[in-house]
Symmetry: C2
Subunit: 225 residues, 2 copies
Amino acid sequence: MVSDSRTHAGVDYIASFRKMCTWTAADRVICLLSAGNLGTSQSVVNLLQQRQDEGVLAVSSMFDLAALLGSTLREVSLRDEQVAQQNPHVDFSCSFLLGGQIAGGDMRLYNIYPQGNFIESTPETPYLQIGESKYGKPILDRVIRYDIPLMQAAKCVLVSFDSTLRSNLSVGMPLDLLLYRRDSLKVGLQARLDEGDLYLSHLRQSWSSGLRQLFMTIPDPPWSI
Amino acid sequence: MVSDSRTHAGVDYIASFRKMCTWTAADRVICLLSAGNLGTSQSVVNLLQQRQDEGVLAVSSMFDLAALLGSTLREVSLRDEQVAQQNPHVDFSCSFLLGGQIAGGDMRLYNIYPQGNFIESTPETPYLQIGESKYGKPILDRVIRYDIPLMQAAKCVLVSFDSTLRSNLSVGMPLDLLLYRRDSLKVGLQARLDEGDLYLSHLRQSWSSGLRQLFMTIPDPPWSI
């Protein structure tokens, strides 16, 4: 799972905020990413945090946790309903990616919609995105398969973020990354990748020059005008 | 200039419509692309067509034509204002790309916004997009420069459309393409590229396999978990 950390990309107000949040215990690894209105998503995360002993750390399945996240999101939306109606031009909505595993169940990945309902990743839908997702989608569509090795998947999501970072100011470094291996029940790797990260800068340079090279090797159209 | 021809990609109603429209005369070549509500854009194009002898074929500069297009768009928006207010969930807006040259002036390219105002392409903004533009933007950002040779630009816009076609159902073949060489005052090439077009299918295959190959040549992350 990978998230950027740009929360508002106005001209004179560029702020950075961690959009990845994790809970771990002996029997579970939970990772949550958020997109959209930061007021809404922070409230949801704080409520989950405050109530974690009866919630995130207590539920017995990822499905129940997705439902809990959805209902907490609805609770916050209801709290802010009136102010949202008074400010129709402000988008108070947010969405979440919830991934992880709880002992006794399989590894799961959910997309929780602003309405609080959710869908799950399946072999036919092997990845999920939230937020500014379109720029980075083509490379995911070309590369990601349900059985892709973990390190290739990690490389692909970084390439996907690279496209988005280059084309859209509202997405910004650093990137937060979490890798989890099925049934390990512990975080495989959690890292914050900034401009100085050696692997990431090598990846971005190689991808960029490789793309331009590939473009030049494909013959120009045969049309003479 | 390139446009797709998908107008509505619902499950049981996929329609195809030409979104490129051209006007030519001894002293001018004009090319218009539209995106957005088809009822609005067709009305605008029909009005321009009906009044072409006093409008598109009569104005003496591309700038005046962009302003005329903007005011015609405002005229149609005003006509439909009431029905738009009665149907707040329907988007009646549309936007246009207007490119071409009129003798005595330089080649120009404009983006006409739904509000009827417009911006022009410049050396710093060497390409413009309307409609479902995000999927195809990264490759344009990497390749397109103000002084890129025409055939490379044509190749790049086709690669850009390929990414969009693969990632989004609301964009569909065939593609309409128009090439124009500065100061020629005649259409260089106008073609409809469908699934069977040899160059386009070769391009799509080479790009797809080249991308996967490039992806595999870049080292996986060095993390061991």
